[in-house]
Subunit: 271 residues, 2 copies
């Protein structure tokens, strides 16, 4: 599997990188099919927003061209891009001039059981809650201890994902997925202004729904709304859409709207 650091083959980075010291950076996890990175523009757009909000002077044109070349070399699998603020001395202050570091890591195509997409999954109820931090909300940054703690809560294969709520109890997302509800023919997903990761597949589904004429709401979601939903599904940029069948004592059928969205998303990921 290829691995590049700053555009060159390499598998290590300096211990003084601020990505290690402070999680001072961003990442993207990108599906690669037939040598092409899927949803590339969406990944780059989120990365660009992260660069602006964290004031990391990433060279997006260079990153785009490296991603294309890296994907061509990888062929099939997953390209993980990390962009750190670069090397630093001791201390939080940023030393000028900045030289952000680009890391590209290839891995084989993920091997999720086909049943996850076909029959749906069960959600583990994560005790780990998401802190509310508007300055970081939505970004795919490198401070991910909450997800590490949440994912460590279950080991059984019965739960394919976990439900994460914020400290106020709102329903936000999965540990590595975004979450959608369907109620009365409407699509509903959490507002990510306080916490959560604004997934690339979430954005794709929001646009797809609009094109398909499906009404969409992005707003706070109470647990009771999840439980009362007609359909529930998860999404991310690697597996597409997984229907949610169970959560604690509650169950949902795999609904028609979920299936209606799954078809074009599956096509996109197979393209």
């Amino acid at each position: 599997m290829p691995c590049w650091v700053d555009g060159q083959p390499g598998e290590s980075l300096p211990v003084v990188d601020r990505g290690l010291a402070y999680g001072d950076g961003l990442f993207e996890t990108i599906a690669v099919r037939r040598g092409r990175p899927l949803l590339l523009e969406r990944h780059l757009a989120r990365l660009a927003e992260g660069c602006i909000r964290l004031a990391i002077p990433g060279d997006l044109a260079l990153i785009r061209s490296e991603l294309l070349a890296f994907s061509a070399e990888l062929g099939e699998g997953v390209a993980k891009l990390l962009l750190t603020r670069g090397d630093g001395r001791r201390g939080y202050a940023v030393s000028q001039p900045l030289q952000p570091r680009r890391i590209l890591l290839g891995s084989p195509p993920p091997q999720y059981p086909p049943a996850h997409a076909e029959q749906g999954v069960r959600l583990h109820p994560c005790r780990t809650r998401l802190a509310e931090q508007p300055l970081l909300a939505g970004l795919k940054h490198l401070n991910r201890l909450e997800q590490v703690l949440a994912r460590a809560e279950w080991q059984d294969a019965e739960h394919a994902e976990g439900l994460m709520r914020d400290l106020s109890g709102r329903v936000i997302e999965g540990v590595f997925s975004n979450l959608f509800l369907v109620r009365d023919g409407r699509l509903l997903t959490a507002d990510l202004c306080r916490c959560g990761v604004a997934g690339v597949m979430r954005a794709e589904i929001l646009d797809l729904a609009e094109r398909m004429g499906i009404p969409v709401q992005v707003r706070d979601i109470a647990l009771a709304e999840l439980l009362a939903a007609d359909e529930v599904f998860l999404c991310n940029s690697l597996y597409g859409i997984w229907p949610v069948r169970g959560f604690e004592g509650h169950g949902w059928p795999v609904g028609t709207l979920t299936r209606k969205l799954q078809a074009p998303i599956r096509k996109l990921l197979d393209s």
Copy 2:
């Protein structure tokens, strides 16, 4: 300056380290004088607590012996220890068996202006607020984007530190320091059950105050209490104690209790 990775001289680490991927690890910044790490037991105790709370199987005995050997080689300066969960594949789930990684980074003694300790400092009012996350509160973990954002708020030399409040407005700490108030002969510092880093020097000062018979309270602090304080000071394990003289339109004298605590702390750091 020496730099060790897993006990061997080295300046790089694998790009697949989870410390980089997720900030999945802990660190300690330790003053080293005459070849000895100062406040070693306190640093190790905090690290041990972090290992328990994050379920990182760190070998504390090995870390202790490496820190002693590293400090002997460094002589004078700062030893930064990073302990990550080790290498990981893609995904938040922890692959067994775990092999945590130890990194030791030496740097020269910090060059803070002597006036900071003698005449006191001004605090920048940080707009970056600390999110409330009880699962991570108190730990010196590698998810430090809030501190990076806060420290980037000011560049002028007029402010030596910044005041960080939580999202509810409580007074918590500095960006790289803990904060104490004095009111009516009592010492007061923030409860760090929701956010903040439980500094090693803060713990030393709390113990010192008890030995000196100074009443201490650890509890939530409102901004109004800061402004009404008789004395205010900052502390960390490298510089000891800095009196706070100014914050926005407010000013404090360098008080007698601050001076009373500064003397033994200075002695400790010079030992």
